[in-house]
């Protein structure tokens, strides 16, 4: 069914068709519209006997799902930013216990300073928690990834995050095709748990494991992720046969034929980068783009193959490893180890700063001219930085920095009188 719909509403609609049995959620922008809609659908009885638990925190939300999943229920939650960090301990626990929970991350910056807009700092903070992390480029893909996520999670006994850019996708109204329930059922069989809390067959789950076996348990989790690298292409192929469109996958190239420069990114910024690639290609600049659709596990082999013949790589990422630079670019550098080509790190879109085609074009031009500083902060306001650094040199107790910057920039009324 083709409809024009807000991303969050569309995700909620498709979620209902994935037949979750327990949903637990705690509100945080920009995730709210998804779970609000789901609560309505549960209350109306549109999702069978599904239970919607209004919890008191994100930590509780995921904990409820840990119990429900271990009891054999298909489970779902959504969160963002501070919410994801608030549940961090349970995020590791769900993965360690091998519970196939699916969670939408409406990607949002992490404070302080508090900021509700989009970047990828939240899911990046938990990238090594053992969850598979899939990133959506647009709302159609967000919908499709959720269907795939349950199948993937349940096939591997491993939780999956579907990351979609907060506001940019969650609150954008786009035309989407919503597959009907029967179609989803045919692709997504009911959940068959491998472990189960059942009085008729008692097991102990979550026991203590000492040095003698801990490494083996962790290795097996790693092994599941390596299996995901084979399974994801199979599942996306099956998805294409079933739904007649390509969606998801490890990485997707765009105009990489004969490309000399590859721009790598994740999420909704791919659309903007594709426009820039088109424009530069018209000017005969041999640039292409690669979307990383699956960030954990990191698809090194596939990416290395796609980068064959490229002589320069620019990684545009919406996150920052403070004191280091890029996070995704570190993975890309590892992927290309042994090949002597420059990998530029470009930090962009932090806290919702818009990423314009002109800035991206400029970035590519600068990179070709070897003029990019490392890491390169796209559209950083250097004047403000210099002013603030000077002020700090002069006044030892510089006070609340963020508030001062806003005042000097006269961006918003933050004056406290």
């Amino acid at each position: 069914m083709n409809v024009q719909m807000e991303g969050s509403q569309a995700v909620a609609e498709i979620l209902a068709r994935c037949r979750p049995e327990v949903i637990a959620a705690y509100p945080i922008s920009p995730q709210t519209h998804i779970v609000e809609r789901l609560s309505v659908k549960v209350a109306r009885g549109e999702i069978g006997r599904c239970q919607f638990v209004n919890v008191e925190s994100e930590f509780a939300a995921l904990s409820v799902l840990i119990g429900a999943s271990a009891s054999g229920a298909r489970t779902y939650t959504a969160t963002s930013s501070q919410g994801l960090l608030f549940m961090a301990e349970a995020v590791y626990n769900a993965a360690g216990l091998g519970l196939p929970i699916v969670m939408t991350i409406a990607n949002r910056a992490v404070g302080a300073p508090i900021n509700i807009w989009n970047d990828h700092s939240d899911s990046m903070a938990l990238r090594d928690a053992g969850w598979i992390q899939l990133f959506a480029e647009h709302n159609q893909e967000a919908i499709d990834l959720h269907i795939q996520a349950f199948r993937l999670a349940e096939a591997l006994s491993c939780p999956v995050m579907v990351c979609m850019d907060g506001y940019v996708l969650t609150h954008a109204s786009e035309p989407v095709d919503l597959p009907d329930a029967a179609h989803v059922d045919a692709y997504l069989p009911p959940y068959q748990p491998v472990q189960l809390l059942d009085p008729n067959d008692p097991v102990s789950i979550g026991a203590m494991v000492g040095p003698d076996a801990f490494a083996e348990v962790k290795y097996l989790a790693h092994h599941q992720h390596l299996r995901a690298l084979d399974l994801i292409p199979e599942l996306t192929q099956a998805f294409e046969q079933h739904f007649h469109r390509q969606s998801g996958g490890l990485c997707s190239p765009y105009r990489m034929e004969g490309a000399d420069i590859a721009v790598i990114a994740m999420g909704s910024v791919i659309g903007t980068i594709k426009d820039v690639v088109d424009e530069l290609r018209r000017a005969s600049i041999p640039v292409g783009c690669i979307k990383i659709g699956c960030y954990r596990p990191f698809p090194m082999l596939r990416l290395r193959g796609l980068l064959e013949g490229v002589s320069r790589v620019i990684v545009v990422e919406k996150d920052l490893a403070v004191g280091v630079g890029g996070i995704v670019s570190a993975d890309v550098q590892l992927t290309l180890s042994g090949r002597q080509i420059p990998v530029h790190t470009v930090i962009a879109g932090l806290g919702g700063r818009s990423i314009s085609t002109s800035s991206l074009k400029q970035m590519i031009v600068e990179a070709r001219a070897e003029r990019l500083t490392e890491p390169y902060f796209l559209d950083l306001n250097k004047t403000v930085i210099e002013q603030e650094l000077a002020r700090r040199r002069d006044i030892r107790r510089a006070g609340p920095v963020a508030e001062h910057i806003l005042r000097t920039m006269n961006v918003m009324g933050t004056k406290v009188s």
Binding site: E21, V22, A24, G48, R49, C50, Q51, V53, N54, V55, E56, S57, F59, A60, S63, V64, L65, I66, G67, A68, S69, A70, S71, G72, A73, T75, E89, A90, N93, L97, L197, D198, P199, D201, P202, V203, S204, I205, G206, A207, M208, V209, G210, A213
Partner: protein
């Protein structure tokens, strides 16, 4: 041939031996079909009140639920001593997730059972006092407030024992722990701190709240059985001496627990929907010193010289309990 006199009454108590009771009122633990939910072989210390309390509580819960039980456990002594991989003492479906989330995990189990229409299964969450009154308090309050169909058992040994005896929000005034040491002019845990979780549970208006003690295992079994028969969020706060943390003789666990009850320091009562409906009268009142003197965590109060102010303050707590819960007569 030497002979030994068999006593049918435990000395110093009014508890009748099981053999004197009719079949229906005998303890669950004395029955041949008890389930040994927490089986022998675990690694609790000698005289561990928590192991004893858990064993009685869960066997009673199994009987009351016709063996249809799932238990969720917070991190703590009970979890660690019962489940060092690949061994497990648990004969019931049992899950440990984290220190602070047992009530929420149990809510999730209950939600899944509801979604699957398995109404016959009872869900228990359990943890130590630290897990309950401190780190898991948010999740516990949420579970109460939603009136989720979970029975929560708190094994209160009045400190973080698993990490080596540190103060919790349930540590009594003046008790020495490794983070409330008796140094300079500090008399152990500061007086006027801590929280009373049974009262807080009652303030949620949940259908059933009770306190119990390993001092009266029959009463503990009865309260668990009552709780299993109630729908919604239920809370049972069980006083369990810890010989290691309290500095008491492992052979004195029952005695110490009994003196806490008989002095009035640990009142036994039941509450329904926020109101106390029953309390267990004290039959032979004892001064708090009898309780304190069996535990090295209070040694600094008993002197010489005795800290009469501190002892009076503790006695005042006991006396206030006796009035509040009508424990005298």
């Amino acid at each position: 041939m030497s002979t030994e006199r068999i006593k049918f009454y435990q000395t110093g108590t009014f508890t009748a031996g099981n053999r004197l009771l009719d079949e229906a009122t005998r303890t669950v633990q004395s029955r041949v079909d008890r389930t040994n939910s927490l089986n022998s072989g675990h690694r609790a210390c000698q005289g561990c009140g928590e192991a004893l309390g858990a064993r009685y509580a869960l066997d009673a819960a199994m009987r009351a639920s016709r063996n249809q039980l799932i238990a969720v456990n917070a991190t703590g002594c009970l979890e660690v001593f019962s489940s060092p991989y690949p061994e497990s003492s648990w004969q019931i479906p049992w899950m440990h997730s984290l220190f602070g989330n047992a009530p929420a995990v149990a809510s999730g189990v209950a939600a899944a059972l509801r979604a699957k229409g398995r109404d016959e299964v009872t869900v228990i969450a359990q943890g130590g006092d630290g897990a309950t009154v401190d780190i898991g308090f948010g999740c516990l309050s949420g579970m109460f407030e939603r009136n989720d169909d979970v029975l929560y058992l708190c094994y209160d040994n009045e400190a973080y024992m698993n990490t080596g005896i540190q103060r919790s929000g349930s540590t009594p005034p003046f008790a020495r722990t490794n983070t409330t040491q008796v140094v300079a002019d500090h008399p152990g845990n500061p007086v006027g701190t801590g929280k009373n979780l049974p009262r807080i549970a009652m303030a949620h208006g949940i259908p059933y709240v009770a306190t119990a003690s390993v001092a009266d295992l029959h009463d503990l079994e009865r309260k668990v059985t009552t709780a299993i028969g109630v729908q919604g969020a239920r809370y049972l706060h069980i006083h369990v001496p810890c010989p290691l943390g309290w500095g008491s003789d492992p052979a004195h666990t029952m005695k110490v627990a009994r003196l806490a009850v008989e002095s009035g320091l640990f009142p036994l009562f039941e509450a329904e929907c926020g109101t106390v409906v029953r309390s267990t009268p004290i039959r032979r009142k004892v001064p708090v010193e009898r309780y304190l003197e069996l535990q090295t965590r209070f040694k600094h109060l008993l002197g010489p010289p005795q800290d009469t102010n501190a002892i009076a303050a503790i006695q005042a707590i006991a006396d206030a309990n006796i009035v509040t819960y009508g424990l005298w007569g």
